[in-house]
Subunit: 198 residues, 2 copies
């Protein structure tokens, strides 16, 4: 019912995660009225991302070169590897400013429900990297798939290098979280992982 060009753009917007018909319409209508230079830049940015962006051959993070900036940074501790699901998580950890090691991006999680198996993920290179490092920090999400993946990697890595230190990020009450709003599993973790004060 919309003019053809608008209808086509609405369909394109629908490929974005969580975008339904109504939202796609709103987005497309905004584009139809936006500043022409902005729209040109938007379209070009889209093509650039698709063409220039690739995965770092060492850690799997997003990069425009063969190796990502973090892997190329010699000031970082390359013997400490933090394992995450996606490039987004790298940014989240980097924002804390607390971590000086390097990363390994799996680009997914093992998921029986979605049919994602270990072979579909960036795990082979992790096993190779693990043979030459001191600590692997498993920082996958505290979800079912995140835990499954962490357990799988823990066993796999222990088998290949029994002296390796393998850690898991802490689970517990989030900062600002109220005890009576926390679910049972979070509270269970918060209790079992309790730490001595001071």
């Amino acid at each position: 019912m919309y003019p053809a060009s608008l209808q086509k753009l609405i369909e394109s917007f629908r490929m974005l995660p969580g975008v339904g018909e109504k939202t796609a319409e709103r987005y497309a209508l905004l584009i139809s009225e936006a500043d022409e230079t902005d729209v040109r830049e938007f379209a070009q940015a889209m093509l650039d991302v698709r063409e220039k962006l690739t995965h770092c051959r060492i850690c799997g993070n997003l990069t425009e070169s063969e190796e990502c900036e973090i892997c190329r940074n010699t000031d970082r501790n390359h013997r400490q590897i933090l394992v995450v699901q996606s490039a987004k998580d790298v940014i989240a950890i980097e924002r804390t400013g607390e971590y000086r090691g390097v990363y390994h991006v799996l680009n997914g999680l093992i998921s029986t429900s979605k049919g994602i198996m270990p072979d579909d993920l960036n795990i082979d290179t992790l096993v190779r990297r693990a043979s030459d490092c001191d600590e692997i920090i498993l920082a996958t999400s505290a979800t079912m798939d995140g835990e499954t993946t962490a357990m799988y990697l823990d066993r796999l890595l222990k088998d290949s290098n029994p002296d390796l230190l393998i850690t898991r990020i802490a689970h517990g009450l989030p900062s600002g979280g109220m005890l009576d709003y926390a679910d049972e599993i979070t509270l269970m973790h918060a209790l079992t992982d309790r730490r001595k004060m001071g």
Copy 2:
């Protein structure tokens, strides 16, 4: 912190309505992994919309020609004009399949809080069209700005053509709406606009 091309795309996505940092990230990351043909088509659709789409010179609706399909359709009743805020509303009414008249798209609503005055809207052409029609249906939203605009247009159009029939779409309980969930203003409208049964 992201590679430059990705960062640029994230910023572009943020120009869409209601899209914050996190959502823009998710969208941009999806584009980085999407099928290349899809991304090309997406970028092209964006440019096409910006270049091909214009406002119908008669009613202000979105079109790729000088006059929109509805205004060019001789099977429709051109003496009945339904006034809406935006092209989205035209589609919403068309979907009901009930309306056979034509439209007038204001491309906005009068809003004192946003500083949108009658002169900023597509009102001049409406006054001209009103001189040669039987009924004007004011179908702006049941919001403060929608009501203000409807009242303004009612007075303006009555002044220019005292014999014109000017109507306002009905306000009341939405279909499937529960009485005890409705707000007071909706209930008030539902009561005052009550109709005889059968």
